[in-house]
Symmetry: C2
Subunit: 459 residues, 2 copies
């Protein structure tokens, strides 16, 4: 008889995992800290929308939710850059016009919860996990009135986010390594409403970025014609959340830095003054599981900063991998959890690193002409040498290549592109046979240096 | 009026801090988790003896305990190496026959507690800190019967060790970074009793090491003629704590690896089977203090592995530095705690790193003739160029040079010694004028590369 599974957290990853496990015949009960967001008007977590890419879509396909979500997802085919000098630039993400998709976190979560219930999972709301006695798999829960109960889980998953109760309980055990780190920047959500005619005030099919070196504003489209803006900004220093104290200071700052944005943002001053400022955490823990009894998944295992748009995608990929392991190993949960951790932990560490690095790319590098040129060259290389070169961004966003492989390619790609760009205008040079021969050689050098890596399908 | 100070933990650092603060006129109350070790026979913590060096002695001098402790401390002037091939070697620690001192942790702790009380501090025993509400400085305590009380501290120090309650409470706060890491090795204490005549069975004035590459046995002398032995050994693998399961396996292992030791260890098999196996943790946290209200000190701020013998010395140096800051800034605790953290945090991080590196030196490198030769050359360099060269070991153990400076010198010393040793027999070469001139130049190169570092007195 298949085991019963207890899941902590009915967020995106917990709900998706419930669907997958129900489809395999497991009994599933989820304990969720918050009230039912389908009945009560509460925030869906830390951001209003998120960027779904290939890994996320694959997991939604497993759950049978892909087609429905595609209808309400907005493809963003590239970055629309609002440079400090007032110019604009559009930088395509993929060589074949691939897109990442702006999706409402709340809508996605509600649909996943409903689908989990339709598949037979039980969700119990208002149940905060206080702690888990890990060796006995005893979960201590507390409801909204402070009433406590304990549940002994047969098999337990902690899908309860960056501040997971199961993760905290692992952390206190002997020989469990753990670390968490906040970056020096926080974020605040702002808003660009729909135009009066209900349309979009800016290009709809883009992720908008105002890169300003040490900080940035970004905007993602919503289906109602609005954009959700996020200011990523230092907590301290000048300028910073600390230094902008008065409405006048906020107004002057936005007028100086984002003159083209504020015309579309009638409430930016109130929003800035009233909306919360949130911090950004990265977490690491080892091990991720305990015997055949419990495991962490999603943010609970690897909370990351949002700058690669991979938080949910990585969590969903955890679910895809687990699903494949269930097919491979049946009920042998000792092996399943061992292999799950062995496969996913290096990827959790790698995507954390990629996400931190991409902040510098988004807020600073995209403002440089040389960087935009490099991105164009990468796409051309991908077209010319499809079997030998794929850019790191494309690996991360448009493939199932392991994150740790993508991370390992960065240095080799930096070397290759530096060689190419040292020669001057690439799109001129490639018309010359002599350069072409050199390029073949360089691409071969690059390919040799990375070919021992695992480019296998993660899912 | 000076503020009242609450200290968590009456261990070595908490008790010493209490003495220093009482001498400056502060009211001091310590809450200690364990019963009074002067009345009940309990272990004094994680090891029976420890190695006191220059930083520790300086702090004891401030407390007025130096002379008394010197009477019961055993100088160890170097490492006595019991090599795998049956040979022995003695490696002096300092160029001037300096020593580190084997001290009983329990005796030192008892004396510090008594001195704290004699100076007017109050120690409340059997009070476990469950948590601290950091913004209000409210300490939640629980006694041995489970009875809870809260104490609102005016100024609070967490001197409660690697698993500090104050540290845990900091860890849960927004934008506090924390990490802890266990090494792959654990340890087990064993014993070499005194000889029948009450004397020592081995050289008394040495720290004995049986270096065996991936593991080691060490022994420190006690005043009763015995040695406390510690086996540092992998938890897993072969051989490991896991692989040695039966008495026969333990016996065979010791007979193979430590044949010269077991003749002196009549109970090693029982000791191995019965004594606990303990893990070894390194912790980092940032920040170390909260406004002018609370701060971490000693292991609570920077728990480290024991391989440089600097855990207590580093904690005592925290106290010395704090004492000097009290002299400099009076009652301005906002400044005192700011500067304390600024000065000590880089040193806590550095000594953690030094301690991890020294494990490899102790268990592996000391078995190599080239390493022993290098140590001899370092001492000669120190004598010839006293203003330009001092070895990292001597900086750490016999000076007040900041740990982070010592750490920063490693690479430059490695380069210098590699240059020298590449030329062949140093003690022959230095008789040649040509080599002497080259050596002058190399020493100048070394000195130039490190002279921008802070060699100032830490205390």
């Amino acid at each position: 008889m298949p085991r019963s599974v207890t899941i902590l957290g009915a967020g995106l990853v917990g709900s998706l995992l419930a669907i997958i496990l129900r489809k395999k015949g497991y009994n599933v009960t989820i304990y969720e800290r918050r009230p039912d967001m389908r009945k009560e008007n509460i925030g869906a977590g830390r951001s209003i929308n998120l960027a779904m890419s290939t890994r996320g879509w694959h997991a939604l396909e497993l759950a049978g939710l892909k087609e429905e979500m595609e209808k309400i997802a907005i493809p963003m085919n590239g970055r629309y850059l609002h440079q400090a000098d007032g110019t604009a630039a559009f930088q395509q993400y993929g060589k074949n016009n691939e897109a990442i998709y702006s999706v409402s976190r709340g809508e996605l979560n509600k649909k996943l919860m409903t689908l989990a219930e339709e598949n037979g999972a039980t969700i119990v709301f208002n149940q905060r996990c206080l702690k888990v006695d890990v060796p006995t798999n005893t979960v201590h829960l507390q409801d909204e009135n402070g009433k406590e109960q304990t549940v002994v889980a047969d098999l337990l998953f902690g899908a309860d986010g960056a501040f997971s109760g199961l993760r905290a309980s692992y952390t206190h055990m002997d020989r469990v390594n753990a670390a968490h780190h906040y970056i020096e920047h926080g974020y605040k959500e702002l808003n660009i409403p729909a135009a009066k005619d209900g349309g979009f005030q800016m290009e709809k099919h883009a992720l908008h970025i105002w890169p300003r070196k040490n900080f940035m504003l970004i905007a993602l489209p919503n289906i109602d014609g609005s954009f959700t803006c996020t200011l990523f900004f230092p907590f301290e220093g000048n300028p910073s959340f600390q230094s902008l104290k008065t409405e006048a200071e906020v107004k002057a700052f936005f007028e100086k830095e984002f003159p083209d944005a504020i015309g579309m943002m009638p409430t930016f001053i109130e929003d800035f003054m009233n909306n919360p400022t949130s911090s950004l955490i990265t977490t690491h823990i080892s091990p991720w599981h305990y015997q055949d009894k419990s495991a962490l998944i999603g943010d609970a295992a690897h909370a990351i900063v949002p700058f690669y748009g991979q938080g949910m995608n990585a969590g969903f990929e955890d679910c895809s991998v687990l699903s494949a392991l269930l097919d491979e190993y049946g009920d042998d949960w000792k092996t399943i959890l061992d292999v799950y951790e062995k496969k996913r932990k290096p990827n959790g560490d790698a995507v954390a690193q990629l996400a931190l690095q991409n902040f510098i790319e988004m807020r600073d590098k995209v403002a440089e002409p040389a960087f935009l040129e490099r991105k164009k060259i990468e796409k051309e290389l991908g077209k010319r040498y499809p079997n030998h070169f794929i850019s790191v961004y494309e690996m991360v966003s448009f493939s199932h290549t392991p994150y740790h492989t993508a991370l390992s390619c960065i240095q080799a790609q930096d070397k290759l592109l530096a060689r190419i760009m040292q020669e001057g205008d690439f799109f001129h040079n490639i018309q010359e046979q002599e350069f072409d021969l050199k390029l073949d050689q360089w691409i071969n050098d690059y390919h040799r240096s990375v070919q021992q890596l695992d480019f296998g399908n993660n899912a």
